[in-house]
């Protein structure tokens, strides 16, 4: 993206936490949870970010708002990526779903729900996708022990 495009983004799209920064070629926007859908909609409709590439989260157990929900978007017109970062706490790990904007959100949010227990409000299908029905806990949380086993079929004795 040309630097004037970034300038436009920084001028017009200023979230509560401050303007966009650039990190390793990716534009980074830090958002409050309430701003996520409106920002994503503006990015899609006004700035041409037509691909939702990825939804994931990062667990920072020491922080009060420990989950950082991370969305990556790509603009096929400007050929640039943007990263949206939203913090939520463990007590109420809810962010709004981007399902209404991007079809790809449905599956990727399911994975993030599996792995971190983030609830995507508005995604009506948060069934397990990589894990199985009845799996307890969210394995990518830092407090989930790596060696914990949850076999579907009990081990045979002897």
């Amino acid at each position: 993206m040309a630097s004037d495009d970034l300038g436009t983004l920084q001028r017009e799209l200023v979230p509560a936490a401050g303007p966009a920064t650039v990190s390793h070629g990716t534009i980074v926007l830090v958002l409050a949870a309430a701003e996520l859908v409106t920002t994503a909609r503006r990015l899609r409709d006004e700035f041409g970010f037509d691909l939702l590439l990825d939804v994931t989260a990062v667990d920072w157990p020491a922080d009060e708002l420990r989950f950082e929900v991370v969305h990556h978007l790509y603009s096929t017109r400007h050929r640039v990526r943007v990263r949206l970062k939203t913090r939520v706490g463990a007590g109420n790990p809810v962010v709004d779903s981007l399902c209404a904007l991007y079809g790809s959100a449905a599956y990727m949010e399911r994975e993030c729900h599996d792995m971190y227990g983030i609830v995507f409000r508005g995604n009506r299908d948060l069934r397990p996708i990589l894990l199985y029905e009845g799996f307890e806990g969210h394995p990518l949380r830092k407090d989930y022990p790596k060696l914990r086993e949850q076999p579907l079929v009990a081990y045979r004795e002897g």
Partner: protein
């Protein structure tokens, strides 16, 4: 005999609101015609597919969790096992991401070699995909032609990396070893073989009535749908848009190469077959350019933060011994930060999102795998089609379980 029922690992979204007279069948996860452990629950009206519910995860092995417990170097064999059909590309994306975090610029020879090997992997991946897809429709000869050429390539890559499938050849800041004597000569011999056998497959398949009837207008997807569903790679290009990271955001040596981006016409299975065939030709063209351009010089950067010292020095100098020890035991020190790095893998955008807290092990490794995203789009392509078309359509998406389920 133990009569306790085993819990169903999935809960399908079908079943409720099933149409009058429809039947719900379960295809997979272990089905001879789906080369991947995927489960498709389909609601059928006769042979017509009304709705599908695609489940993956049967190959989930906690890749991302495991990564958080190992040094940056130790992950290289793991990332090999994501897309195990083109593991070199996984290696190079991962290494590129770590190098960006560390601020390392790889040597020119390494840059060209990685580009050449990426294209080589793309050819291997597409050969596998096309061969399997054709075999599933009964084309055994085409399968054997393509897989034979692929095997020459596997053996040839094994001569370089030491392994046929999981090469572990990338290194942070370089590559495991340089080309052996005569490797490029053998490469040209194989490319000539490739041209002959791919030419035969073109002659067998392209204008074959059976294949056209099976592939044309089947599994169709529009550009708008593909973009909304996050599709990239041949799946997106089959809808007619030339979106390719090698052209759009050039990395490695792609900016210096001459190549075309083949696109389809209507986003159906035939277009995806043909795009893969054409992309392989472009890759071969690029590999020939790269073989000419390949500069001499070192393949590893001279950076003590990531590159292992010479073995002779490890045995003779205390500084090199300590350097080696710390790289093995503590891992390369990657500065605090985060990066998203993506390359154009054979199936679409393969991205690594890495978060470092400044230590020798990652805080988080996330893979944006094209196969997983494409599985989310599969229902759109399967619904409304015929039961028999599930297999070719699924084959044309080329889902790779290791990468999809992680």
């Amino acid at each position: 005999m133990d009569t306790t029922t085993i819990a169903n690992p999935i809960r399908t979204s079908l079943g409720r609101n099933a149409a009058e007279g429809s039947v719900i069948v379960n295809i997979g996860p272990s089905h001879p015609a789906t080369h991947g452990t995927v489960q498709i629950v389909a609601e059928l009206d006769g042979e017509k597919v009304l709705r599908t519910d695609v489940h993956c995860g049967y190959l989930h092995r906690g890749f991302e969790k495991e990564c958080e417990d190992h040094t940056w170097h130790n992950l290289i064999p793991y990332v090999d096992r994501l897309n195990y059909v083109s593991p070199l590309i996984n290696d190079f994306v991962y290494c590129d991401a770590v190098e960006q975090l560390m601020g390392i610029e790889i040597t020119p020879r390494c840059r060209y070699l990685r580009t050449l090997l990426s294209e080589y992997s793309r050819v291997v991946d597409h050969l596998t995909c096309v061969a399997a897809a054709l075999m599933e429709m009964g084309a055994m000869t085409a399968f054997l032609y393509l897989v034979m050429v692929r095997d020459y390539m596997y053996e040839h890559i094994a001569a370089l990396t030491g392994a046929r499938v999981t090469h572990s050849y990338g290194r942070i800041g370089g590559l495991a070893r340089d080309l052996p004597e005569g490797w490029l000569v053998r490469l040209e011999e194989i490319l000539v073989q490739y041209e002959e056998f791919v030419g035969r497959v073109h002659a067998l398949v392209d204008r074959n009535r059976i294949f056209i009837d099976r592939l044309r207008g089947v599994g169709t997807i529009t550009t708008a749908e593909a973009l909304s569903l996050g599709c990239t790679g041949p799946l997106l290009r089959s809808t007619g848009v030339p979106i390719d990271l090698r052209k759009d955001t050039p990395y490695l040596a792609y900016a210096e190469l001459d190549f075309d981006v083949p696109v389809g016409i209507q986003g159906d299975n035939y277009d995806r077959y043909y795009i893969r065939m054409r992309e392989m030709d472009e890759s071969v063209y690029m590999m020939r350019q790269l073989a000419q351009m390949l500069p001499e010089g070192p393949i590893n950067v001279d950076d003590r933060r990531c590159t292992f010292p010479e073995k002779t020095l490890v045995y003779s100098q205390i500084e090199s011994l300590i350097n080696h020890f710390k790289l093995v035991m503590e891992g390369p020190v990657v500065p605090r930060g985060e990066v998203y790095c993506a390359h154009e893998a054979p199936n679409g955008e393969l991205g690594f999102y890495l978060v470092s807290t400044g230590g020798g092990t990652p805080h988080k490794v996330h893979v944006r795998s094209p196969s997983f995203v494409h599985m989310g789009a599969a229902s759109r392509m399967l619904d409304g089609g015929q039961l028999a078309d599930i297999v070719p359509t699924f084959g044309s998406i080329n889902m790779i379980g290791g990468e999809c389920d992680r």
